[in-house]
Symmetry: C2
Subunit: 323 residues, 2 copies
């Protein structure tokens, strides 16, 4: 069988690829675990060479149907659709966000439909689909009211995947991810970029800017947790999901102040002193519209897990970086 | 100012047009009531001649951008977007539903955005955006889980209108309509077509088929009520809506059995005897996924009203037909 990862050169895509290569198998279209013969990594840029003969790298624009047609055939039993324009960029460039977050997601579903083999398709969604007046803890049946174009586009992709699944064109699942922290590498255009930066930069001796007040509450998941959840989400029995193909993944609810205290616990006052506080209204507005917590009962019943504590998340980040 | 109605040759479009011509004015882009100089009726077919010099009829496919560009200019201060592929047809022809219910709605928003004059845009949505496990009374913050392609497409159009409004491209409002009953004319491809047919046909001495069990609960609004709500929805102050551009319109919650009893009250046993009961699983599945009631508090606070009773709705249908 073949597996496709869109956004395969990105941080999560590369990490997911490594994990899948290590496991060597995954449950595909018929629910039985099968050996992964080919792992296709599709991205708009070339990713790192993973040094594995099973990997096939494709560079192309997923806004073009031909690129997706080239990446998906009837052996492609599982698809992880991670490619996206992040929140800050989708807000700055409306048309680009629509083209990738909405149109390309729909094209991917259309190509699967045309192939007719009903693959498992995993979409990642986001805290950003929520917004407006929210309960303290968001429930599975809380209505979406996104306050960013990214959130609106993700909510639309969710609806598309659910309907394509209901109609039998694909076997889809949507995993709503908490904000991922701690991401390695450089800051990006996501409004939530700081949620990694305020830990990552101080740990490597650099200054970080925190653009939101310390009491801002975030809903976080570690990269390790995200990769586990993506694979588990793909392997979930469709019958267990029924007509609710969207799962809110477990996270930990922490205020930015609590994140800073966890950093102090792990790396001391010196690290914390490298955080500069400088409010950015644009980021406060987007991030402030997201829920700081949601009910995780259903996800846990489905066997999906989150992290134990943010201090643990920082420790595992340090471990992963050492490797 | 100009007003545009898409689906202007349809039953609601024609009725809305007549009401607007009678009123002669409506609140447009800046919120002040202005004289309607031109009323553009756009549809894929020619409508009845309304015999009014203010009316301009356009025949064209709203899936084509040029058709919408021809219909919307910077004087078009208010747009009622009623054109749609109905539920049964969107389920039978997936691509057609996507093209009109999703793509054409987006095109309409794009043309407005390109014009740059921020018109008031009223989208009609539907009970069909809800589905799956629902509370007995749907709340404003109940999540959408549509179980038909029509419902998914309407939910997507809602998200688009909300985001285009948030970004300042249009001043949008979405009115979620209950099932409209009693519609005059012929049965159509809507799964809910029977909700008018079981009253309309017996009243004109014809047989009607009821494809759902008598205990099926429907959420209904009369055509009169719908037209009132459409105009009131357009005239609502945007500030009163805030970041919640979607309003669940008031309806009356009746079982099909109660509808039949109302028909008996108004037209006697003879009329009721013309209803033949013949279950259609396809219709039961779609209509059964819709809510039978929702909370109307917010709509009422905004000044939007429903009907008093279904017997009254039947009486006003008979009155309207006599004219």
């Amino acid at each position: 069988m073949k597996v496709l990862i869109t956004g395969g050169a990105g941080f999560l895509g590369q990490r997911l690829a490594r994990e899948l290569l290590e496991r060597g198998e995954i449950a595909g279209a018929d629910g039985k675990r099968e050996r992964i013969g080919e792992l296709v990594l599709l991205d708009v840029v070339e990713g790192a060479d993973l040094g594995d003969a099973r990997v096939k790298t494709l560079v192309g624009d997923i806004g073009e149907r031909s690129v997706l047609e080239n990446a998906i055939d009837t052996d492609t039993a599982a698809i992880f659709h991670l490619a996206a324009i992040v929140s800050g960029q989708a807000e700055a460039d409306f048309d680009l966000g629509m083209r990738i977050n909405l149109d390309a997601s729909r094209l991917l579903l259309e190509v699967c439909r045309a192939r007719g083999h009903r693959p498992r398709v995993v979409f990642t969604s986001s805290v950003a689909v929520y917004g407006g007046e929210l309960p303290a803890v968001v429930q599975d049946d809380t209505a979406l009211n996104p306050q960013s174009s990214y959130g609106a586009q993700k909510a639309i992709a969710e609806l598309l995947l659910s309907d394509y699944t209901r109609r039998g064109f694909v076997d889809g699942r949507v995993l709503r991810l908490p904000t991922i922290s701690v991401r390695p590498g450089k800051p990006n255009a996501a409004a939530s970029s700081f949620a990694s930066g305020i830990v990552r930069e101080p740990l490597s001796g650099e200054e970080a800017v925190c653009p939101v007040p310390g009491e801002t509450r975030l809903w976080l998941l570690s990269p390790r947790g995200a990769i586990e959840a993506l694979i588990a989400g793909c392997e979930l029995d469709g019958a267990a999901l029924g007509n609710r193909r969207i799962v809110n993944l477990p996270g930990i609810s922490v205020s930015v102040n609590e994140m800073v205290e966890a950093l102090r616990e792990v790396a001391g006052d010196e690290a914390v002193a490298r955080i500069r506080w400088e409010t950015d209204g644009r980021i406060v507005k987007i991030v402030g519209s997201w829920p700081g917590s949601w009910n995780t009962e259903r996800a846990e019943k489905l066997g999906l897990k989150g992290d134990a504590s943010f201090a643990d998340v920082i420790r595992s980040y340090i471990e992963d970086e050492k490797r």
